[in-house]
């Protein structure tokens, strides 16, 4: 969607045409999802927060300055949603104490610095080197976002065996990334 088209859609939504907002959701949902998914570890919660981001953006659409980068504006709302959620959950649940906060801190540091690009490139390179069976599992789990039960049914294995295999793949990817980054 071009900037002019986007501005027209925003004007229509502000004039009361709710349905016009769907075009915005469809255009930006994947971008927002990537931001939230990188900061959270729960797929269900990720989806809920992406939805909440778009609802919050709808409620504050009047404060969006036309001509600005709409994607960046949305992503800032998403980050705020995640920060609030992590603060709330940290108070409630010891399991994510420290770790989720560490992950968020690490994500924000790498997003601000130039670290994220080599890491992402290394991950892409290492993923390309995976054997076909492992690549298939990665595709089912991450590209298509299926849960372990669905994947296990598709590949004809138990849920636990599927989880273990995906665990081994992720460890192999980590080791591959470390080697890749060490060469830089």
């Amino acid at each position: 969607m071009s900037n002019t088209d986007l501005d027209n859609v925003v004007v229509r939504v502000l004039a009361g045409d709710i349905d016009a907002y769907e075009a915005i959701v469809r255009d930006y949902q994947l971008e927002v999802w990537k931001v939230v998914a990188a900061m959270l570890l729960n797929a269900q919660l990720t989806e809920d927060l992406v939805e909440q981001t778009f609802i919050s953006a709808f409620q504050h659409l009047h404060s969006y300055e036309r001509g600005r980068d709409f994607g960046a504006w949305l992503k800032e709302i998403a980050r705020n949603q995640v920060r609030q959620e992590i603060r709330r959950r940290t108070r409630e649940d010891v399991r994510i104490e420290h770790y989720q906060a560490q992950l968020l801190q690490s994500y924000e540091l790498s997003a601000q610095s130039s670290q994220s690009q080599p890491l992402q490139e290394a991950l892409e390179e290492c993923t390309r080197k995976l054997p076909p069976a492992s690549a298939k599992l990665v595709e089912l789990r991450y590209h298509r976002a299926l849960n372990f039960g669905e994947i296990a049914a598709l590949v004809g294995r138990t849920v636990e065996a599927t989880r273990q295999q995906l665990g081994r793949i992720r460890i192999a990817l980590r080791e591959c990334i470390e080697k890749h980054l060490a060469r830089l």
Partner: protein, 500 residues
């Protein structure tokens, strides 16, 4: 895989228990490089998640937005009522005819109305509530259905006609309709149960009413139970299951797309059985208890009570599956009611002294007096911090097709632990021979194939002596003819009868 990696992956999969979280905390505090490993693994997880390609949250988001708009209208109407309490006689006394009442009763009424202002207020509130609900309904429907709503204003003749139609339909439903009540989502456990209704995805919660066309999707950590009160039928969805309520008009009809459900079906009205359609078969039930499992290429029916008529879609062949039996509808699989499978008998001997496999066999309690007996679902045995534990898994293998089978023993335990798999060419344990054996960490080499025949059962046994202070596992994988190497699961195993 180190313990740190295992715990980090559990965290990434949102499967970290409270105790495990504390353990992870300790590991991160004590090991210098642990934090780097931990963060890097989580970065891998985040990076992989960012590669998602299919996402359609638009229906859900737009649904939530529209619901919020309708809610906003309701709040505005409430504000109007509060601002103007006399609106449409909202605070008038009740319309009670005093014509036919005696003077005494009129006085009583008068006293009641004047002495009890709460009554006036209640009646006024009731009217206000009715008006409020009507206004909200009209305005909400106006938003949802367009500005022409309401498009039809009822006339007396229309009302009479509608009453006749309702009476006819009511009588028809009374005589011919199903006996059930409305399907309700009675129990929801875990998170991640979604309900797809009219193109919108909702988070399903306990107490929700279900209707025809609804699709329930249980994630890997969500389960649910549907009831039909006052009827005692219960349909329970396991994790990772997708079920559609296709119709409730001529009996209950469901489509099980994927996963596993367990149903306890009360006797159904004649000609109105409960029917479950899967991609491979139809299960027709009048009243029974059964489990239906759907995988990508097969549907399996296990019947506990009563019987179920099971029809394979590919050739419309039907079999009646009685209690204690199962049937599988899949390509290259014998379509018949077979004795029920579902795992192996596990027997454990604690404190077996000695360091070789013979130690278990020479133990005076072996084989008839184990310390513990239970059943396991598949040939995957997880072990954690156990010393001198002897385990025997035994039962029967039910090969799905005739041909050559390969078996591999996967083994991840220290050198002082042992495992051995034996199988008999018949169902007689006395004829068993070793088919896979290992005393080292790793996987056995590809063994020679074994010829097995569909429809027969073969005795199989695994003996293991475990001496470990670390976690590990033992599993048996197989490769059926024309199939791929995979874990040997309970669908093809039945337990041996324990000696008492």
């Amino acid at each position: 895989m180190t313990r740190l990696e295992e715990l980090t992956l559990d965290l990434a999969d949102d499967a970290l228990s409270r105790e495990a979280a504390l353990e992870l905390q300790r590991l991160l505090a004590h090991e210098g490089s642990a934090r780097q490993t931990h963060i890097r693994l989580l970065q891998v997880e985040a990076g992989l998640r960012a590669t998602r390609q299919n996402l359609d949250l638009a229906p859900s988001i737009m649904g939530r937005l529209r619901a919020r708009m309708a809610d906003g209208i309701a709040r505005n109407v409430m504000t109007e009522i509060r601002a103007n309490p006399l609106m449409r006689g909202a605070s008038c006394p009740p319309e009670v005819s005093t014509q036919s009442r005696s003077p005494t009763s009129q006085k009583r009424m008068w006293r009641r109305h004047t002495a009890a202002p709460g009554v006036q207020r209640d009646a006024g509130n009731l009217r206000a509530r009715k008006w409020f609900m009507r206004t909200v309904q009209q305005r909400s429907l106006g938003i949802l259905l367009g500005p022409t709503w309401p498009w039809w204003k009822p006339k007396p003749i229309s009302i009479a006609l509608a009453a006749c139609v309702i009476l006819t339909v009511g009588l028809w439903a009374w005589f011919f309709g199903p006996t059930m009540g409305k399907p309700i989502l009675a129990e929801v456990q875990g998170t991640g149960l979604r309900l797809e209704r009219a193109g919108q995805t909702l988070i399903a919660t306990a107490g929700m009413s279900l209707s025809a066309g609804d699709v329930l999707r249980a994630s890997e950590n969500g389960t649910a139970t549907i009831t039909f009160v006052p009827e005692k039928t219960r349909v329970s969805l396991n994790a990772g299951t997708e079920l559609k309520l296709s119709s409730l008009l001529h009996g209950k009809r469901f489509e099980l797309h994927l996963g596993k459900l367990e149903a306890s079906v009360a006797p159904q009205r004649p000609f109105r059985p409960l029917v479950l359609n899967t991609p491979h078969a139809d299960a027709r039930v009048v009243g029974t208890h059964f489990i239906l499992t759907v995988a990508t290429n097969a549907t399996r029916l296990d019947v506990t009570e009563g019987s179920v008529r099971f029809t394979r879609i590919s050739d419309r062949r039907a079999v009646r599956v009685p209690a204690g039996s199962y049937a599988v509808a899949a390509p290259n699989y014998e379509f018949a009611a077979l004795p029920k499978t579902g795992g192996l008998l596990r027997e454990c001997w604690i404190g077996v002294t000695g360091k070789t496999m013979f130690a278990l066999r020479e133990d005076p309690r072996f084989p008839d007096h184990p310390d513990k007996r239970d059943f396991i679902d598949n040939l995957e045995l997880k072990v954690s911090e156990t010393n001198q534990l002897g385990v025997r898994l035994r039962g029967y293998l039910h090969p799905p097709v005739t041909g050559n089978y390969h078996f591999w023993l996967n083994y991840s335990l220290p050198d002082s632990s042992y495992a051995e798999v034996t199988m008999s060419p018949t169902e007689n344990p006395a004829e068993e021979v070793a088919i896979a054996r290992d005393g080292k960490v790793g996987v056995t080499q590809a063994p020679p194939p074994i010829q097995l025949e569909a429809g027969r059962r073969y005795y199989i046994e695994i003996q293991t002596l475990i001496n470990t202070k670390t976690a590990g596992y033992i599993s048996l994988e197989w490769k059926p003819p024309g199939g791929t190497r995979e874990l040997l699961t309970g669908e093809f195993l039945s337990p041996a009868k324990p000696k008492r």
